[in-house]
């Protein structure tokens, strides 16, 4: 399965409206802003859960793009650090596979909004392949 097909076939990815951007140095996932993703309307800011889910999805898509298999890798654990408030704008995410073992892959993800040098959230997770 490739990354585009993964985003098209995973219902939750369609629900979030995540799309792909082909950058020179790899895949970038884009989470377009939508009012119904907001968790705090006073700021406003995206729901922390949405930010975490977007990071996990970005990690999963990167992994699917690298693995020649129709199965979706299963998450074992995922950790999210919330670094900045995630405002009412598009969010981008990029994942890096730290280790690709036979059974387990470890993936790191960063998400940002206006400036890739100012990440809004960082994630890391292990997946069972």
């Amino acid at each position: 399965m490739n990354a585009a097909r993964a985003l098209a076939t995973i219902p939750y990815a369609r629900f979030l409206g995540v799309r792909l951007e082909e950058a020179a140095d790899g895949l970038v996932c884009v989470l377009p802003f939508r009012d119904d993703l907001v968790g705090n309307a006073a700021l406003p800011a995206l729901h922390g859960g949405v930010v975490g889910a977007f990071l996990e999805l970005t990690a999963l898509v990167e992994l699917i793009a690298q693995v020649d298999d129709d199965r979706v890798p299963k998450p074992i654990g995922f950790r999210v650090d919330y670094l900045r408030s995630v405002g009412p704008r598009d969010t981008r995410g990029r994942a890096e596979i730290v280790k690709h073992g036979r059974r387990i892959a470890n993936v790191r993800v960063l998400a940002w909004q206006d400036d890739a040098a100012k990440p809004v959230a960082a994630g890391t997770g292990n997946f069972l392949l």
């Binding site: 700021l43 922390g48 949405v50 979706v72 995922f78 950790r79």
Partner: protein
Amino acid sequence: MADELRRYALAALFGAGRRELVEHIPHCVRLGMEVLHVGPHVARVRLPYREEIVGDPVRRVVFGGAITTLLDHAGGLAVFASLPDLASIATLDLRIDYLRAAAPGHDLVGEATCYRLTTHVAFVRASAWEVRAEDPFATCLATFMVGANPSLSPVARAVRDREGGAG
């Protein structure tokens, strides 16, 4: 209200089925999330099973990230339910272990406990299950920043409405 509950900012909203705690939060409304119970230091929230939150199209298992949303939200409410005075909060970090796949077709329940509250940081543990609380499919640890500006808090309005009304 019992005297021992007076020291909680959210005491007027303690109890079962607190719809007002999610109805001002667009993403919770979109997911159909329900607050089942809020009490001192704890919150229990339900996330209805829907096809659109499935992560694995073959196994029909809910996407892990949707479980993050459930437990982040339950965790945030547990922090609010621990505060003596209303404040704004923000998730600082959250770590989930997916113990097993959640059974397809079941609503998911998440329960969080704020087990330590300091001036600036609240510590939370949480778990999620679909059939029995003793058999969770996910466990979670999270920390939240506790800020000063309660007007930025999504529950501030619910508390205001409650206290301004009959409650």
